[in-house]
């Protein structure tokens, strides 16, 4: 039997019960004094720190299912900033980084964006997920804080007309048309199935692929969203199987791409599996195996052969004790580009730095890059990659 209310105990009527409060009241001045001292200490410490640094925010997913790729991106930026600090900082001041985790959630991204702005950052490198970058960019724009994303590919980000928003990677319309061209022109498929994770990024890229593929005369026979929390895709796979699709396209991240692929093959479906830059992480290979048959991904040009990129890979491994991620170089380049532009502009004022960024090309690990008036890269080519011997490699015979 569970009683609706606990029985009141007689003990509470004991007059001695009031004593502890009296004691506290008598000691009140002491506690108050302690509080004042603590507050003063915090205040003084805050003032001292504020004096001579330039603050840069590093924002992105650091935990949760997208944590791995997000952290490797932020680590890239950290290396760049440490190098600048070792050389004496920017504009004669040391750079202080504030790294915050948005957990790949849009609402959390807005909260940390506000907190970065309140902390007085002059620029933000991040976020990673488009669903975080886009809502956060409104806050940075209102506060006149420069934002550069190393990894968000949804076109909407730079289509908002914000003057100080940049991206140092391609856009999903470019990526989508590369994927659609591969599927239709190279593989000669007419029917494809498209699944996405319903996020701004995943659905965005899925939409772009569908649009381009259909404009080429193909047909998307399955077009469905899967919740980002779901982990059993067998029903979706049955639908794909029954639809007669010749390939399965996944718009989303590696954390779901891996199990989706594994379950697809376990269900006996052998059609090609095509995914995008969100699946481009070592964790995807760890899940699906070193030599999976018929897996293709769209990603930017291969830069790993360039000497600068090899140097960076060594530096990254020495600093963090693990291999770089797909977006580490982008994080590194993003930090270098904005710090170079700040040095050149002679100020941290977002509009002036932005004007410098749009004025001429910059040298990066990825080669010479140039921003257009929207803040996108003028040239961003996507190529088709596949997986061989536990590594991502560019598909042979592919421009």
């Amino acid at each position: 039997m569970i009683a609706l209310w606990p029985k009141r105990k007689r003990k509470r009527l004991d007059p001695t019960a009031a004593r502890p409060l009296d004691k506290t009241v008598r000691k009140l001045p002491f506690f108050l004094g302690l509080g004042v001292v603590a507050l003063a200490a915090v205040f003084l410490a805050g003032c001292q720190k504020k004096a001579d640094t330039i603050k840069i925010g590093l924002a992105g997913a650091q935990t949760g299912s997208d944590g791995q790729i997000g952290v490797s991106m932020l680590n890239g930026s950290k290396i760049a900033i440490e190098e600048w600090n070792a050389k004496g900082g920017v504009l004669g001041k040391q750079i202080e980084t504030i790294a915050l985790d948005d957990e790949a959630k849009g609402d959390k991204a807005v909260t940390i964006a506000q907190s970065l702005v309140d902390d007085g950052v002059v620029a933000v490198i991040g976020h990673f997920n488009s669903s975080c970058t886009i809502p956060a960019s409104r806050i940075y724009n209102a506060a006149k804080v420069l934002e550069i994303t190393p990894g968000s590919t949804n076109p909407l980000y730079t289509e908002q007309g914000f003057p100080d928003a940049f991206r140092i990677c391609g856009r999903d319309d470019q990526q989508g048309s590369a994927a659609a061209a591969f599927l239709h022109d190279q593989m000669h498929f007419n029917k494809i199935a498209i699944l996405d994770d319903k996020t701004t990024y995943g659905q965005g890229i899925a939409d772009e692929i569908k649009k381009t593929f259909e404009s080429k005369g193909g047909q998307a026979v399955v077009y469905q969203g899967i919740g980002k929390d779901d982990s059993d895709y067998r029903a979706n796979i049955d639908v794909v199987k029954g639809s007669g699709a010749e390939a399965l396209v996944w718009g989303g991240m590696y954390a779901q791409a891996g199990p989706l692929f594994v379950q697809l093959r376990q269900s006996g479906v052998t059609i090609p599996f095509i995914s995008d830059d969100g699946a481009f992480d070592q964790a995807f290979i760890d899940t699906i195996g070193a030599n999976p048959p018929n897996v293709y991904l769209t990603f930017a040009q291969d830069y790993s052969g360039l000497p600068a990129a090899q140097d960076f890979a060594k530096k990254y491994e020495a600093r963090f004790g693990q291999k770089e991620g797909a977006y580490s170089v982008y994080g590194y380049d993003a930090a270098n580009v904005i710090l170079t532009a700040m040095q050149e502009a002679g100020t941290t004022d977002a509009d002036k730095v932005s004007a410098v960024l749009k004025s001429h090309p910059f040298d990066t690990i990825l080669g010479k890059i140039e921003f257009d008036s929207k803040g996108d890269l003028k040239e961003a080519d996507y190529v088709i990659w596949t997986i061989k011997d536990g590594k991502f490699v560019v598909l042979p015979g592919n421009p």
């Binding site: 569970i2 209310w5 606990p6 935990t63 944590g67 319903k198 969203g225 029903a235 049955d238 594994v262």
Partner: protein, 311 residues
């Protein structure tokens, strides 16, 4: 939306997948329903016990494979046993620490405590074990998840058969245990009236602890099978599956053992059919719509009885 009608083999395949997904929910739902049947409280931390089962199985398999090599069945069995031990220990500890002292308190107190334990365990795993997803080692799952039985035009994997079989066997065993053994009778006595049960010599504390341990061990079995089935686990997997299982238990009539299984199967098939007919983005919507309709018609769930008037 689909253009044409699905072929019958697709339909059958979808329903079979829905049933096996439902069977997996059912194993978790049994834990909710047992605790509710005995204590009249909802153990929100049950999903986390299930998640701990998943993690301890994978880590145990990793440890023993380092210790004595890749013996498929031996290591899997070790993983399962360790998972059951860990889950039972956590289940018992939850009862001992968070619920026992609140047993006579207002009904909201243990409920709130359970939500607290659930959140605590999630973040405990998140901060101490893994912040990102952990893969189930495919070496141990591929033979089960990749092997097929052909049934007409439809393929069923060994793992799906195993999940369904284990669920039905456990349900039958539990039903028999509760209705036909001395321990089961003592358990039902405890559920009916704790004071009277203690007067006839039943140790109420022990019976309740036993309920938690049994439910947690079942959750561990579910955790191991589902992590093989879905390939991955993360710290909040338990919360998500727990919510579905809880829904299933309510749907079938919470407190009722066959009800939990029936509710879970209906839930699984509803989700799968939704994927076929309108698309998987609607699966949560239709699931809860079904729950609402059932509750409007039968407020105590499909197999719920009016007699268990505890709360």
């Amino acid at each position: 939306m689909i253009a044409e009608l699905p072929s019958s083999s697709t339909l059958i395949a979808i329903i079979i997948n829905g049933i096996s997904r439902g069977a997996a929910y059912a194993l978790v739902a049994l834990g909710y329903t047992m605790v509710y049947g005995v204590l009249g409280m909802i153990n929100f931390a049950h999903g986390e016990v299930y998640m701990i089962g998943m993690f301890s199985c994978v880590y145990a398999i990793g440890a023993v494979s380092v210790l004595w090599g890749d013996h498929l069945f031996l290591n899997l069995a070790c993983g399962l046993v360790v998972a059951m031990l860990f889950s039972s220990a956590y289940g018992y500890a939850n009862e001992r620490i968070a619920y026992r002292r609140l047993r006579k308190a207002h009904i909201l107190a243990p409920l709130t405590s359970a939500i607290g334990v659930s959140t605590f365990l999630q973040y405990f795993i998140f901060l101490n074990v893994s912040k990102s997803k952990v893969d189930f080692p495919r070496y141990y799952s591929d033979w089960l998840a990749g092997g097929h039985v052909h049934l007409g035009e439809v393929d069923i994997t060994y793992l799906q058969l195993a999940i369904l079989g284990v669920t039905l066997v456990i349900m039958a065993a539990l039903f028999y245990f509760i209705h036909a053994t001395r321990l089961g009778i003592a358990l039902r006595a405890t559920a009916q009236d704790q004071l009277m049960a203690s007067l006839v010599g039943i140790s109420v504390n022990r019976m309740i602890a036993f309920t938690f341990i049994l439910g947690s061990a079942l959750a561990a079995i579910a955790g191991v099978m589902l992590s093989m089935y879905n390939n991955q686990m993360v710290f909040d997997t338990g919360y998500r599956v727990g919510l579905k299982a809880f829904t299933a238990a309510i749907l079938g009539g919470i407190g009722n053992i066959p009800g939990a299984v029936l509710g879970a199967l209906i839930l699984g098939v509803t989700e799968a059919l939704t994927t076929l007919i309108v698309g998987s983005e609607w699966s949560n919507g239709t699931t809860f719509a079904v729950l609402m309709i059932v509750l409007l018609v039968r407020p105590r769930g499909l197999l719920g009885e009016r007699v268990v008037d505890k709360v």
